[in-house]
Amino acid sequence: LAKTTQPISMDSYEGQEVNITCSHNNIATNDYITWYQQFPSQGPRFIIQGYKTKVTNEVASLFIPADRKSSTLSLPRVSLSDTAVYYCLVGDEGDSNYQLIWGAGTKLIIKP
């Protein structure tokens, strides 16, 4: 399974665009990329999922270059409430849940 690497933490300011990059050098052909957000003492919340190029929804965009060895979660105009831990997961629909490894994530702190 593809191992993911993310920055441990990031800081930004309200109103800024935040980009969090995840590297997954050994991503397999059938793998897709999913991002979750987790607030303290809450369960992770699905943000966005993609396979290639760009995916956009009402909360974020996901940019995936042609080689798919990395992906970037983009949060437009962040607010204080976007302070959370963000997890990048890579896996194939055929992978076992047991094998879907949750890393330490990126702790994003938004400042006023």
Partner: protein, 116 residues
């Protein structure tokens, strides 16, 4: 927006006691999961459940753990004889499909289990 509901939000129990954590998954979801997260650590998979049976479990999910769907709405995790190291947040999740291509899982807010 549909939610996964977990009760209680916090449970304190003495070591060696049995605890049952309860979850109400989203009504049209067919796949159910338990995860746990020890304070400050990673989210860890425990077990997945489909069609009234366990479909997958991790090494953490040993004989002390069991899951059950006693009726059409509840999904429970039982820990028979709790240990101090069972102290963690336990998250229930559900998904419409077992295929992860479909928009991920919906997690509940968790039960904080404290074993003393």
């Amino acid at each position: 927006e549909p939610e996964v509901t977990q009760t209680p939000s916090h449970q304190v129990t003495q070591m060696g006691q049995e605890v049952i954590l309860r979850c109400v998954p989203i009504s049209n979801h067919l796949y159910f999961y338990w995860y746990r997260q020890i304070l400050g650590q990673k989210v860890e998979f425990l077990v997945s459940f489909y069609n009234n049976e366990i479909s997958e479990k991790s090494e953490i999910f040993d004989d002390q753990f069991s899951v059950e769907r006693p009726d059409g709405s509840n999904f429970t995790l039982k820990i028979r004889s709790t240990k101090l190291e069972d102290s963690a947040m336990y998250f229930c999740a559900s998904s419409e499909s077992g295929v992860r291509g479909n928009y991920g899982y919906t997690f509940g807010s968790g039960t904080r289990l404290t074993v003393v």
